[in-house]
Symmetry: C2
Subunit: 307 residues, 2 copies
């Protein structure tokens, strides 16, 4: 095989109580990428459509992750990369992670799959770091593994694949505002009350138990964020209206996707998700902020081959 076309999905990180460690994979939105072997050695980005991103390999997240793997594999040929960017950068659903994970996933297939998902994650983190100035795996991991993932630790890198109930759907609204990552970080306190931390780890433990036992009600009761959401939700106009509309129409939970501005709601069944999508759309219409909104099944596979 000399060429692979793939779909690299958007992802939701943090997931309420799971700040910095949890993530899940979406299905409706993702970048498309083509990776092709070339006789010339090295990595080249030959096409970027959708958004204006750098072609220089060392400035492009997909390029940096690709180079990390390329140096490790050291093959006697090269790769060229085409990126059809569908996930808007800065929307809070893992845009850079999708590109960073996609390039190494595709190269790995063309190399005969020498690398494990954990190794792919490690390469992709290097790319992600270009965009976020620090190493994170909470969007990369669900893009590569699919379903729900928990980043147990970054050093050494350890990713847990958490069983994900079949009938789980997400509604994601993306208000078209810009939240600077630096602002999203600055707004968080360095120290938090021990009392709140206990509530949060009780919820994380309960969520993992709920995912293992397909207990949607427990998942709902556990997806509560008493630590980060009270601060970051202030950066998203209408967050409370979105949450109220979603919960009133049957969503299990609503929270900030990544560091925002996207807001996700998890729902049991596609039918409920469609209802919630409609309710959130109506609730947000009164704000003057343009927005995208979509329903997505939880993607159990992660990145998918398209050809």
């Amino acid at each position: 095989m000399n060429e692979i076309k793939l779909f690299s999905p958007a992802t939701v990180a943090n997931v309420s109580c799971g700040f910095d460690v949890l993530g899940f994979c979406l299905d409706s939105v993702g970048d498309e990428m083509v990776i092709r072997k070339t006789s010339n050695k090295g990595i080249k980005i030959i096409k970027i459509e959708g958004y204006d991103l750098p072609y220089e390999v060392n400035k492009n997240v997909a390029g940096v992750s690709a180079m990390a793997m390329y140096k490790a594999a050291n093959p006697d040929f090269g790769f060229e990369i085409e990126i059809y960017k569908k996930i808007k950068p800065g929307s809070g659903v893992g845009s850079s992670s999708a590109s960073a994970a996609g390039s190494v996933y595709g190269m790995n297939v063309l190399l005969g799959s020498p690398y494990s998902p954990l190794e792919l994650t490690a390469f992709a983190i290097k790319g992600e770091a270009v965009a976020s100035q620090s190493e994170h795996a909470d969007n990369i991991a669900p893009a590569i593994y699919g379903g729900f993932t928990l980043v147990k630790s970054l050093d050494p890198l350890e990713i847990l694949q958490i069983p994900t109930p079949e009938d789980l759907f997400a509604v994601v609204i993306h208000p078209q505002i810009e939240i600077k990552t630096s602002d999203a970080r600055k707004i968080l306190p360095k120290d938090i009350p021990l009392k709140n931390a206990i509530t949060q780890w009780s919820n994380v433990g309960s969520l993992i138990h709920g995912l293992h036992t397909n207990d949607y009600e427990l998942i709902s009761r556990s997806l509560v964020d008493v630590v980060v959401e009270p601060f970051r939700s202030q950066l998203i106009p209408g967050f409370e209206s979105i949450k109220k509309a979603a919960l009133e129409h049957g969503a299990l939970s609503t929270g900030i996707s990544g560091s925002g501005p996207s807001v996700f709601s998890l729902c049991k069944s596609q039918k409920t998700a469609i209802k919630v999508e409609k309710a959130v759309r109506q609730a947000y219409a009164k704000y003057t902020i343009p927005f995208d909104i979509y329903v997505s099944k939880i993607n159990m596979e992660g990145i998918k081959k398209l050809n």
Copy 2:
């Protein structure tokens, strides 16, 4: 049935990363209690052996929990309670919880089992509060449910039974020193770094996943406490020596039981537990503090009927 004799086990609360929410049930040590129906109405404690504890129903944890249930059930007969106290009060393995849970468990059987484990837990918490001045369920729940439990929340009360691997054993050492609950509380900071809180909830999530998947190595890597142990271990002379000896001889993890002074080590297999017990015993011999030490299987049933 007019009389029940039962074994109400010691328990380990907190369990490293799971401060205030996790607990597990022991098998080798526990109180014995006899509960008997009487034609006179009301609750009477007629015998206490082992330790010097109050006979007044409203001052005795077993009495207070018993009264809470008695008022709710309002039967036309009474109960008398005999307590053969084997768990030393203040040792950090749920002495008061064992008594508080035992009386309501026994009464429930004699009443024809009208109450659920959750309701028994709620009654027992009322007794436990007499000893600890605040309501806690992290020792009560494992005594009643057995195995590992997670207190999802106290209000409303919600207890999760976490699957527990079959081959898990605990080694518990009880250095005979007194730690005042007030000192154990005072030494904890009100606020903790967000960074540490994230590590802790990642570990709680990973532990629950490890318990669900029988992954002993993951359980070991997850049973780490970066929040409470650094403070409270200072109150236990020789804590680091115990931990070092246990881990060097194959223990999965070592941590403070409850608020101490007991220290538990979890081990895969009885064989390893026996080795760890010997190593910890030797390591602690150099301290001039008398101690008890024992190996216990994790008790999967909780309180047991003896007759």
